[in-house]
């Protein structure tokens, strides 16, 4: 359980890399986030799921320090190195930029990485001389992950990594994310509005719809009424999908709750 109990500052020897404590965010009168608390530990994959517009990206931006929260606090382990995989990268066609050069932008004195080695780690070694603008969705995601890895991150943060990637590519991508965690033992926080495959690749799930509806291990969350209320029929589709992994689960999706906003 990665939620809510932690209020003290992150101690040096703790496994906790980053935590949000009762974070709230308003834009004018709109409440984007209310009382959101969560933490990511070393070696743990935490997935934030929720419908479009639920405040997932806002939450990431607050954790990354790109946006100051209206209330609550963000605590990072001192000296924490974050690797960030943004949701969209739109580089103007007029900028002549190879993958090698794109990756080298992440390298500095504190993170003297090797672009080729990072590409090999994400299974995209052949792309080093390709122009960044010509990459497919799946290729671009791998290159972005490689760039994040060049920072030798303690915490890897991915915003909708599966977006624009075909279904086979998504499975490979989540397998890659798990492999990175196993190999580097870093913490991983990822955000998705897509339920498919996410569940299988994660240790902790946080359902977000402006506030945290429910959280915990994927299996427990998928049985939570709040989760079913949030995702409705999609949750049932996922229950069928999860059936292949979990034979205690009932495959029938009888009680279809109304997919409704919470606020």
């Amino acid at each position: 359980m990665a939620l809510a109990e932690m209020t003290e500052a992150v101690p040096e020897n703790s496994q906790i890399l980053a935590e949000l404590d009762a974070v709230g965010m308003r834009f004018g009168r709109t409440v984007a986030l209310a009382q959101v608390s969560l933490s990511v530990r070393r070696g743990e994959i935490v997935t934030v799921i929720g419908p479009n517009g639920a405040g997932k990206s806002t939450l990431l931006r607050i954790l990354l320090g790109l946006l100051p929260p209206s209330s609550g606090s963000v605590r990072l382990r001192p000296g924490l190195r974050i690797g960030y995989v943004p949701q969209r990268v739109a580089i103007d066609e007029t900028l002549p930029l190879t993958v090698r050069r794109f990756l080298s932008l992440a390298i500095d004195r504190a993170a003297p990485g090797d672009p080729q080695a990072a590409l090999i780690e994400v299974g995209a070694a052949g792309l080093i001389d390709a122009p960044v603008q010509g990459l497919s969705g799946g290729e671009l995601q791998r290159v972005l992950v490689a760039r994040a890895l060049l920072r030798a991150p303690d915490l890897l943060v991915l915003d909708e990594p599966a977006q624009g990637v075909d279904i086979n590519g998504q499975a490979e991508l989540f397998a890659l994310i798990r492999r990175i965690r196993d190999r580097r033992h870093c913490g991983i926080l990822l955000v998705s509005h897509d339920l498919h495959l996410v569940m299988a690749a994660t240790d902790n799930v946080v359902c977000l719809n402006h506030h945290i509806c429910c959280s915990g291990h994927p299996e427990a969350v998928t049985r939570d009424p709040a989760y079913r209320a949030l995702f409705g029929t999609a949750a049932d589709a996922l229950a069928i999908y999860a059936h292949h992994h979990d034979h205690r689960h009932d495959a029938h999706g009888e009680e279809i709750a109304e997919p409704s906003g919470q606020d």
Partner: protein, 271 residues
């Protein structure tokens, strides 16, 4: 023949000044193109006329007033864009034409001072003085040095601003420095092509360089070269056919851009 020598002199000064401006406008213009800021360049350069009026009114050095005004306007634009009440291009269009019109009004009120309005609007490169050249090369050297210093972080935030922030780039400082550079280049190049045409000197050479560049740095250098070529052609054409020099330079730069599009693309062998 003394007449011939003096003509050579002003042509030489024009060439030296034009090439100096092109050397800075090239790489800076590449960033304007990559960051899709052509409208922003327009808004700033059009406001330069207001800077001229203010400078004359206050009796302050015109270059300094123009730089100060461009920078102030740049900061205002950034602040307004943050609020996002209006689309960015609408906002920039308003700023460009409002400041140009206010500048024109201000100058029209100055009956006591003779102001060469056409010169400020379309440039008067053949009237460039040695003092102007010192401004261009002094300002240009500073601008290129600053650009070289911020090149990497500026490139990183051009590729993805939030990613650059997470990776430790001080985005606000770099952006402000970049705007200061644009303001500086506008101030020193106004004499050459005038406030209405400055943006073309920034974006046309960079656009012409795109097809031949394999790296961002190559594109910056090639843009400087193509700008210098356009200035030379423009001045030559202007002397040959007695056309206005500023527009001639811009036509030369456009022709150069068009010509690069006629060159067949090489299949990239090595990438």
């Amino acid at each position: 023949m003394p007449g011939l020598i003096s003509m050579d002199d002003f042509v030489l000064r024009a060439l030296v000044a034009g090439i100096g401006v092109a050397a800075v406008a090239g790489p800076l213009g590449a960033f304007i193109v990559w960051r899709r800021m052509a409208y922003f360049g327009d808004a700033l350069s059009h406001s330069a006329l207001l800077g001229v009026a203010l400078g004359i009114l206050l009796g302050v050095n015109l270059n300094l007033t123009i730089i100060a005004l461009c920078l102030a306007l740049a900061l205002i634009i950034v602040a307004l864009q943050h609020q996002q009440r209006l689309a960015s291009d609408t906002l920039l269009g308003i700023m460009a034409h409002a400041s140009l019109s206010i500048g024109l009004l201000a100058i029209s009120f100055m009956e006591s001072v003779r102001v060469d309005l056409m010169g400020y609007l379309f440039g008067d490169i053949l009237a460039v003085t040695t003092r102007d050249i010192l401004w261009i090369y002094g300002g240009g050297t500073v601008a290129l040095a600053v650009l070289a210093y911020i090149w990497r972080p500026l490139l990183a935030m051009t590729v993805h601003e939030e990613l650059a922030r997470v990776e430790g780039v001080n985005v606000t400082a770099v952006r402000t420095a970049f705007m200061l550079l644009v303001a500086l280049v506008i101030a020193v190049s106004m004499k050459l092509v005038g406030v209405l045409l400055i943006t073309s000197l920034l974006i046309l050479p960079a656009a012409a360089a795109r097809r031949f560049a394999r790296t961002p740095e190559q594109m910056g250098v090639l843009a400087a070269l193509s700008g210098a070529l356009a200035v030379s052609f423009g001045i030559a054409a202007s002397l040959r056919w007695d056309t206005p020099t500023g527009p001639s330079i811009v036509v030369a730069a456009s022709a150069l851009y068009a010509a690069t599009n006629l060159v067949p693309t090489r299949r990239q062998a090595t990438g």
